[in-house]
């Protein structure tokens, strides 16, 4: 089974802190994604990566950055956390292209609270 593991289920951070959310997948997937989930807004794409050291902005990248130094690991970074970044963060991975009849596999999510 594909496994996407997010390092923390719950995090509480203070405003202004630098926050790292870690995600690891074990299926050698090329693509990795970070989504943010908020009630009534569904999932919104923050960043994605299609290869090591490659990244592309999604729909809401402001206030976030990412790092992909190894194929299996994709980190989301909040440079200076703010209260409006309190949310559920979901990591996902997939094979290189959905035309290969694949799907995105999701981690369990990290619920981040910024106080």
């Amino acid at each position: 089974d594909v496994k996407v593991t997010q390092s923390s289920r719950y995090l509480v951070k203070r405003t202004g802190e630098k926050v790292f959310l870690e995600c690891v997948q074990d299926m050698d997937h090329e693509n990795m994604f970070w989504y943010r989930q908020d009630p009534g807004l569904g999932l919104r794409l923050i960043y994605f990566s299609y290869d090591v050291k490659m990244k592309e902005k999604g729909d809401i990248p402001e206030g976030y950055s990412v790092s992909r130094e190894k194929k299996e690991r994709f980190s989301l970074i909040l440079e200076s956390a703010s209260t409006n970044q309190t949310s559920m963060y979901l990591c996902a991975s997939s094979l290189v292209s959905f035309v290969m009849n694949t799907e995105a596999f999701f981690g369990q999510g990290t619920r981040l609270t910024v106080v």
Binding site: F33, L41, G42, L43, L45, E56, S97, N101, E103
Partner: protein, 114 residues
């Protein structure tokens, strides 16, 4: 702009009754379509997907979905719901051609009445 719309924010269904969750998409060409389920406090699990071919797609947990090109819809159905089906359901689409991720609807919260 490409979008996925789930018109119903909440749906309440009695246990044993049938279910239909609506999903409409707005894309230039037919996208790849997915339904995911999220149980409380959990990540997303794929129920089913449509890439091409037969427009009636069978998924896990007794769910099915029908793709209707003329209506730009991909509605999810289940003939008889169980209390364990209470969850958040997301429709998603992918236009193809790159690693730009899935576009999700805002979700439908399914409540099961005893």
């Amino acid at each position: 702009a490409q979008s996925v719309t789930q018109p119903d924010i909440h749906i309440t269904v009695s246990e044993g009754a049938s279910l239909e969750l609506r999903c409409n998409y707005s894309y230039g060409a037919t996208p790849y379509l997915f339904w995911y389920v999220q149980s409380p406090g959990q990540g997303l699990q794929l129920l089913l997907k449509y890439f091409s071919g037969d427009t009636l797609v069978q998924g896990i947990k007794g769910f099915e979905a029908e793709f209707k090109r003329s209506q730009s819809s991909f509605n999810l159905r289940k003939p008889s719901v169980h209390w364990s089906d209470a969850a958040e359901y997301f429709c998603a689409a992918y236009s193809g051609g790159g690693a730009d991720g899935l576009t999700f609807g805002k979700g439908t919260h399914l409540i099961i009445q005893p």
